[in-house]
């Protein structure tokens, strides 16, 4: 039995407002499979579930088809729908116990559909209901309790029992685990998995991404009524292709990710549909997006563009005007003009020498839009050089650079300033990176002056104060006329941050921005940095020697050793199971395991050998002769002949 949802659109008519809740959603539920529907509140998940059950309120206008096993059920009369509900489509509504009738005992409520639909006797129905409840782990004495006498988790399980009591072919679960503790959740997860194995088609609506990974095969991400991406559930954290998916994954407190919760840029809003006059032919299809004042600086989103563009980290001009359709990329389908998450910066084979000393061996590095990429490694491993090459401050000896799809060197040559306005840089030593003869105002206004961006003093002042407010600094005139030596390090670093942000860059290169700060100030500056990264949709290249710091802020990590990248991949993967012994050493020394065994970096025995060979506990002959290439292994790249893996003897 399968449920087909075909181009379903739902509009709620609310007085004079019309709110677009769903637009052209097409999904298929197959038996024995679980489809998860994920999205922010207000993205239309519950509306979709209600539409499947024929439970939309009377002010809803619906288009499109819903087919159960090839038979349309969306236009059926209430009496036919009643047959389908519970018998063929079971549903667990959200908000748990609130859906139970407070004046009836639990077992009566679970047995009710049996009595209603199957015309069973009360005793038979109770027996079956008791069994179903017991299957959900509710003990006998609980069956006769009233809803208010149950805990949230027990009520939720009672609801699950109720949904499954009629043995329907399709089960719709709306936030089945939101009120459950971890233990009850895993119990309920098992129950749902069993139902799936019995061949039920399950539509899971949830915020809980871990649950999705455990239960679902496929997941669809809904935003403001549109499907933004569908993908295999296992790829949620490792391979999101839409910026929305990436942001949702980053907002979820998953156990295996290490970065502090990121959240998503801006706020969600309602889609109001304005009906224009009758003589306006295209008029009634126009969709205006009403943007609350608090959410966006760029105000009204245009009627035609991508819904997500104002919150996107990689929106380009075309996104404002062009409507995009879902497009298949591998086993994902993605609604994005840029065909998935774009690369903001690509370094291809860049290298750098200082005199005879090789700082960077030819290497590739790709930084994606909206991510925080951390470069870690010991002193002298070439982190800063690589970051400065990425920022366009240093010119590599060989190789190419592509920034936002344009050749960077050519761009620099033609119009350096327009490139410079796209890249903000924060330096290691805040006190030295501002001139001590510049006041706060002068310092922050410097980029505006250089780029000739402010027509008048007032305009410049306004821009400076707004960016100072963004970095949580005072904006009163007394502060603006302060000089760096009158400020503390944290404040100076924030002034530097304001200077880097005042032109509205898309890439922020931060070279050890907090190494000269004490831990409490460091924490404040980092939190600020990450908040701004999210709110401004920045991409960040963060250089640090502190792998513990990288763990807290990085989406991806690149481990550098002697001018080479030896391991690149998602931060949580590298930190939990490093493949390169050097990465392991770095992690161990931060956690205090490797203390006392310090060996300074030295040249490899053979010039072609692995640079880590003298310090590597598992170096073999091959390592002395051949320097390993950076190769793709399990969602990451490693340059090691004998990568550490679980169970690998080394």
């Amino acid at each position: 039995m399968s449920l087909d949802i075909n181009q379903l659109s739902v509009i709620y008519q609310d007085g004079t407002h019309r709110i677009q809740a769903l637009e052209d959603v097409s999904l298929t539920l197959a038996p024995g499979r679980c489809l998860a529907l994920v999205g922010e509140s207000g993205s239309g998940k519950t509306t979709l579930a209600k539409a499947c059950m024929g439970l939309l309120p009377s002010n809803a206008v619906r288009q499109g088809q819903i087919k159960l096993n090839g038979q349309r059920i969306d236009h059926l009369e209430e009496s036919f729908l009643n047959k389908i509900r519970w018998e063929r489509i079971g549903m667990v509504f959200q908000h748990g116990a609130a859906n139970l009738n407070p004046v009836h005992r639990i077992i009566n409520q679970v047995a009710e559909p049996l009595i209603q639909h199957r015309s069973l006797s009360r005793a038979e129905a109770h027996a079956l209901a008791g069994e179903a409840l017991a299957q959900m782990g509710l003990k006998g004495e609980h069956h006769w309790r009233y809803p208010h006498q149950l805990s949230g988790g027990e009520a939720q399980r009672a609801l699950l029992a109720m949904a499954m009591i009629m043995d329907p072919e399709v089960i719709i679960l709306d936030e089945p685990t939101s009120a459950l503790d971890a233990l009850s959740k895993s119990f309920v997860t098992d129950c749902i998995n069993q139902a799936k194995e019995k061949g039920k088609a399950i539509l899971l609506i949830t915020h809980d991404l871990e649950l999705v990974v455990h239960l679902a095969e496929t997941v669809a991400f809904l935003y403001l009524g549109e499907v933004m991406e569908t993908m295999p559930a296992r790829d949620i954290f490792s391979q999101p292709l839409h910026p929305y998916t990436l942001a949702l994954g980053r907002s979820y407190p998953a156990m295996n990710t290490t970065r502090d919760l990121g959240g998503m840029r801006g706020d969600a809003f309602y889609r109001f549909v304005h009906q224009h006059g009758h003589d306006d032919e295209a008029g009634y299809r126009h969709t205006h997006i009403q943007v609350p004042l608090s959410s966006h600086k760029d105000g009204h989103a245009p009627p035609s563009g991508c819904l997500f563009q104002s919150r996107c980290t990689q929106a380009i001009e075309r996104c404002r005007t062009e409507k995009v359709d879902l497009e298949a990329i591998g086993d994902h389908t993605v609604r994005c003009l840029r065909h998935g998450i774009a690369n903001l910066l690509e370094l291809k084979g860049v290298s750098k020498k200082y005199g005879n000393a090789v700082a960077i061996n030819p290497m590739d590095l790709t930084i994606k839009c909206g991510e925080v990429f951390c470069l870690v490694g010991e002193t002298g491993s070439g982190k800063t050089t690589l970051a400065m090459i990425a920022a366009g401050v240093l010119t590599p000896e060989s190789g190419g650079r592509v920034f936002d799809g344009r050749d960077m060197d050519e761009w620099m040559h033609k119009d350096y300033r327009s490139l410079a306005s796209q890249i903000g840089v924060i330096y290691q030593n805040p006190a030295e990176s501002v001139s001590h003869r510049f006041s706060v105002l002068d310092t922050v206004a410097e980029p505006l002056k250089i780029h000739g961006l402010s027509q008048s003093k007032e305009e410049m002042h306004a821009r400076v104060t707004s960016v100072l407010a963004d970095v949580h600094l005072s904006t009163d005139p007394a502060f603006l006329s302060r000089y760096p030596h009158e400020l503390n390090m944290g404040a100076i670093q924030r002034v530097c941050l304001a200077r880097a942000l005042v032109l509205g860059p898309s890439l922020l290169v931060a070279d050890e921005p907090t190494s000269s700060l004490d831990p409490s100030v460091q924490a404040k500056v980092l939190k600020l940095l990450l908040d701004l990264q999210i709110e401004m949709g920045l991409t960040m290249l963060f250089v640090t020697h502190d792998i513990g710091l990288a763990r807290k802020i990085g989406d991806r990590i690149g481990v550098m050793l002697s001018g080479r990248l030896v391991e690149v991949g998602p931060a949580h993967l590298i930190l939990s199971t490093p493949y390169h012994p050097y990465a392991q050493l770095l992690i161990d020394s931060v956690s205090g395991i490797g203390h006392g065994s310090f060996q300074p970096a030295s040249d490899p025995v053979e010039p072609d050998g692995c640079p880590f060979v003298t310090r590597c506990p598992q170096a073999k002959d091959l390592c002395r002769r051949v320097n390993p290439q950076l190769l793709e292994r399990d969602h990451r790249q490693v340059a090691c002949h004998f990568p550490l893996t679980i169970g690998h003897p080394g």
Partner: protein, 280 residues
């Protein structure tokens, strides 16, 4: 600037002395002609008269009023020194900044020229030029400036080379600041102390040089100069004129040089707080 200059300098004895002397010399220079009781070229007085109520410093061998002569001489010497110092400073700063900022070929050419000039003694060139071509004092001042800039530009270049590596200069370059912007906003203000030292040193040399050339009689004899006054006074040193004829121009020359030095030291101290402890 983030230092209250007025308050800082007013407490500094170096500045107070230098400023007072400077004020006196400025008045002498600016108001010299109206202040002078007589025309310094008027030879109608009794030669070698001792000081009297009409002639504060007496009359020289040519029958001219020494005080009036002194006012005009200070004016000439001071102007010569200031102009030479300023022109040498301007040349030195421009050349030093250009060499240090652009480096490479520009640096090589400019610094080799500087090396050549450093190797040639300025006094020799000046004496030869003055003796052979008899140019006006202004031309001599310019020639002297043209000889004196290398030490200033070497110092400025060294400072530029160090500053160009500093983070705030690199940050400005990263933001997209052009050469002229960075030189004007980041490099020039940073080197203020160097300007003062350079200017003071060169102005001192120039004043001394002017006096020396005049002493040697290489200027137009009718042009009043401290050096020339000393030269004539020395011819009559066996007479009792040293205190009214010889001493005043010598004292003025010494005080002029001290004024410039004192002002430079005090301003430098104020503008660079690190020197405060060293110089007291």
């Amino acid at each position: 600037m983030h230092i209250d200059i007025r308050q800082a300098v007013s407490r500094d004895p170096w500045f107070v002395v230098g400023f007072s002397l400077g004020l006196i010399f400025s008045i002498m220079t600016l108001l010299g002609p109206p202040l002078a009781p007589f025309d310094p070229w008027d030879i109608s007085f009794t030669p070698l008269s001792p000081p009297s109520a009409r002639h504060f410093l007496g009359i020289n061998d040519g029958g001219q009023d020494i005080f009036s002569e002194l006012l005009f001489a200070v004016r000439n010497t001071l102007t010569f020194g200031l102009i030479s110092g300023l022109v040498a400073l301007a040349l030195g700063v421009l050349i030093g900044l250009a060499a240090g900022w652009f480096r490479g070929f520009v640096d090589m050419i400019l610094m080799r020229i500087a090396d050549v000039l450093l190797a040639i003694p300025a006094i020799m060139i000046l004496i030869l030029t003055a003796a052979l071509f008899r140019p006006s004092p202004w031309v001599l001042a310019l020639i002297l400036s043209g000889m004196m800039w290398p030490t200033i530009s070497k110092a400025i270049r060294a400072q530029t080379l160090s500053l160009r590596e500093s983070l705030h200069v690199r940050a400005a370059a990263q933001i997209g600041g052009g050469n002229w912007y960075i030189i004007r906003r980041h490099l020039m203000p940073e080197m203020f102390p160097l300007y003062l030292i350079g200017f003071a040193a060169k102005a001192r040399i120039a004043m001394f040089m002017e006096a020396a050339l005049a002493f040697l009689g290489l200027f137009d004899p009718s042009r009043k100069s401290l050096g020339m006054m000393i030269g004539y006074a020395l011819k009559y040193y066996y007479m009792d004129i040293w205190w009214n004829w010889l001493l005043p121009p010598i004292a003025c020359l010494s005080l002029l040089i001290m004024t410039v030095t004192f002002l430079a030291i005090s301003l430098e101290k104020v503008l660079d707080p690190r020197l405060k402890e060293a110089l007291g």
